[in-house]
Amino acid sequence: MAAAELGKLTPELAAIQVEIEEYARGYGLDFYPTIFELIDADQLNEIAARGGFPTRYPHWRFGMEYEQLSKGYHYGLQKIYEMVINNDPCYAYLMRCNGTIDQKMVMAHVYGHCDFFKNNQWFTHTNRKMMDEVANHGTRVRRIMDRIGVEEVEDFIDICLSIEDLIDVHSPFIKRRNTADRFDFTEETRDDSNKAPRFDAKSYMEPFINPKEKLQAEQNRIDEQTEETPCPETPERDVMRFLLEHAPLKAWQADLLSIVRDEAYYFAPQAQTKIMNEGWASYWHSTIMINQGLTAADVVNYCDHHSGTMASAPTQLNPYKVGIELFRNIEDRWNRGAFGREYEECDDFAKRENWNTGAGLGREKIFEVRRIHNDLTFIDEFLTLDFVREHKLFRFGYNPNSEAYEIESREFPKVKRQLLESLTNRGRPMISVVDGNYKNRGELYMQHEYSDVELQMDQAHDTLENLHRLWNRPVHIATFLEDEQVVVSYDGSEHHLRSGNAEDLADDSEDAA
């Protein structure tokens, strides 16, 4: 195991680990075995640049990440305290130069994350041997590079990354259709269902028993009846899989695409649960440290770092802060019994404020919440008017006149809506493949589910070009620009923009042809 060769904990820290782990178990946190590695800042930056996996495949963007992280670190702008990998066993990296009390706090925080990884529903289908898997990916990519050439491979990876977020985050949970298996080598059985039925006949009797004209007529009738099944049958959100199954890829290309896709699926739940995951971990480091971990001498240091983690800038909502406060809010409400119909319908402010049925369900509730929710449903269900007011949340927008971001509204529905929108589909446009044989010419036609926010056109153009390189035929995406339906296309040499509905445009062109 590659990571195990990194720094071992000092005896002092190992003792702290035992201590903290016991506290964590005492609270009912449930996690995979957790391995802490003690490494210095440069190594941590290196690993962080590779998304936490030291053995990840080589790619320039990790170099870019590293450049930013290390510059940020050396200029004193930022510092990574800790890093946890969703894996069984969990790996967590500690920075060597942190003080003992920081390490203690970080460990408590890490156990929060580990518990979340293991128990949150959205992580159930992630690969728990990802450390090994990623190392395998690395080996595969290196081998392909040796064979094909670094330039070409890296170029192709760039293309794959360009559509990395076009995956269907719900697909691990819902079996929408039988997936074609890439490794299925059984011979295709001939499918006769679309052929006109014929009687068995000796060859010299054939023209009499199965006359040609009759057969042809029957065949025509059947052809008319059976409409061609569209491909894909239903719009496919998992564009990467669609391409894997249908695009004319070479074996090594398909391999790379599937590597990028696998990793995208692995990382997706982390993007889906940023607020909850950090909130949950922060909740636990704070609970454990305040109740057990701290000595009088450490209080100031701890508070300093805790508040540093919780700080929020005006235009940047801190997921740690929102998360921990929401969990505390939920715990408090369920402890007081401040939920349910009776509470919701009460509009006496004072009464709501002092509401207490002594239900004491808080702990239980937050454990339930961490099991079943993701950020979107978490905010949807638990972000209340009172919370928004108490924590002074606002919605801001860009004002072109003053060339600055300004507070637009403090109204609860608007704030909540903005937040929910930004979390829907991890803040990315929702795009699906509608037709892999558009205009009956094997062109790729995708649909952007428009929700008042346009696509950024220059980037969309470049992405289409990349898609074209995978698909090798013209690619189209239907979206909206200035409230008008448009289809943006790339045919391999230039971009087209036509307004109108994709189906109509397809018909038009067929008529023209």
Partner: protein
């Protein structure tokens, strides 16, 4: 253990290099960054390559924030850090660049790295020594303003513990006079290497503002680089049309004269300046001359004489940049080329437009003299 981040970093840099060139050029020609030079720091972008994706465009920018303020209060400008963790638009306002403030020293370092400039070897030996006060020691006495807070309290703490006056529950530390420690200085002898940069510019009617802007930008980078190589660099400015005079920096960049061009006049002033103030034995002398090259015909001979006899022997390097002007470029550079084809100290460069600055700096400073 495969942790070859250098490989990825190198590849990133290689990819960017094609891009960096673009950026650096664009950014060198940016007038604004010279405006910020007074603060000793310049903000420079860290390149970032974005992989194109389908993402949300501008009309969705905005997000949810936290804090005080009324509706309508500004909360930040685009490009100020990252904005909108909950922004509906992916990263509203943040461009492809992360801006980092660096000081001029570092900037010069980067410039050197980017242009692959050699370090300059100072001419001659550093014969002059000067003393410099350096605060690097501690004394028992001194003014209160120089009291070393940490050491003083450490002494007090040590004394209190050793005398048993320290209570961990009530850690109250009171320094007395004998605890007090003060910062103090020593005189450190330092070899002095002096350098002077003499800029000469043609301000005759044919030099437009555009040309001056080019000169100015180029001078900024030259300053940055030479300033990095020599501590305490002197700068002198000479302008000329048919007659030359020494001026201050501001005047240098903002004077507009009409009239003819007599380059020898500038050489004359320059030679006098060197003679008077910068003895060759003690100074590294750098001359940069910018003109559109439209010299009066009969003046060339005189200019060459001055150059051969006075300036070239004195200077580490003499750089002539000929800026292309809308009135057509002169032929002074050709004359120089013919006359001094084998002189190592004379560096010639033609600057066609802003894009040319990059190459020109490389030509001027690339020799490491």
């Amino acid at each position: 253990m495969i942790l070859d981040i250098e490989r990825d970093q190198r590849r990133f840099k290689q990819i960017v290099r094609g891009k960096i060139r673009e950026n650096l050029r664009k950014y060198i020609t940016h007038g604004e960054m010279i405006g910020r030079r007074g603060k000793e720091t310049v903000s420079i972008p860290i390149p970032q390559l974005d992989i194109p994706r389908f993402r949300f465009g501008d009309n969705g920018s905005g997000g949810v924030g936290q804090g005080d303020g009324e509706v309508g209060d500004p909360v930040g400008k685009p490009g100020e850090g990252s904005s909108g963790a909950g922004g509906a638009g992916s990263e509203p306002g943040s461009g492809h660049f992360l801006e980092v403030e660096v000081d001029l020293d570092e900037l010069a370092e980067m410039l050197g790295e980017e242009l692959e400039l050699p370090r300059i070897e100072p001419k001659g030996t550093a014969s002059i020594m000067s003393d410099k006060a350096k605060y690097n020691s501690i004394r028992q006495t001194g003014p209160e303003s120089l009291r070393h807070f940490k050491r003083t309290y450490l002494n007090a703490l040590r004394r209190q513990i050793s005398t048993g006056n320290y209570q961990p529950d009530n850690p109250c530390i009171v320094p007395i006079k004998s605890d007090k420690q003060y910062r103090s200085w020593n005189d450190v002898p330092r070899p002095e290497v002096n350098a002077v940069v003499i800029y000469m510019m043609d301000v005759s009617g044919s030099m437009t503002d555009e040309q001056k802007q080019i000169v100015r930008t180029e001078a900024f980078w030259i300053d940055a680089w030479l300033g990095k190589q020599y501590k305490g660099i002197e700068k002198r400015y000479i302008i000329h049309d048919a007659a030359a005079k020494e001026v201050d920096e501001n005047t240098f960049y903002h004077t507009r004269e009409s009239g003819g061009t007599r380059i020898s006049s500038a050489y004359q002033v320059c030679a006098e300046l060197i003679e008077k103030s910068f003895p060759v034995s003690d100074w590294n002398i750098y001359c940069f001359q910018f003109s559109d090259g439209d010299n009066w015909g009969d003046d060339n001979q005189k200019a060459f004489e001055l150059l051969s006899d006075k300036l070239l022997p004195a200077a580490n390097v003499f750089c002539y940049g000929q800026v292309e002007s809308p009135y057509g470029s002169g032929d002074f550079i050709d004359a120089l080329r013919k006359q001094y084809s084998d002189n190592e100290k004379l560096v010639l460069s033609e600057i066609e437009d802003r894009e040319g600055i990059y190459e020109s700096i490389k030509t001027f400073l690339g020799k490491g003299q």
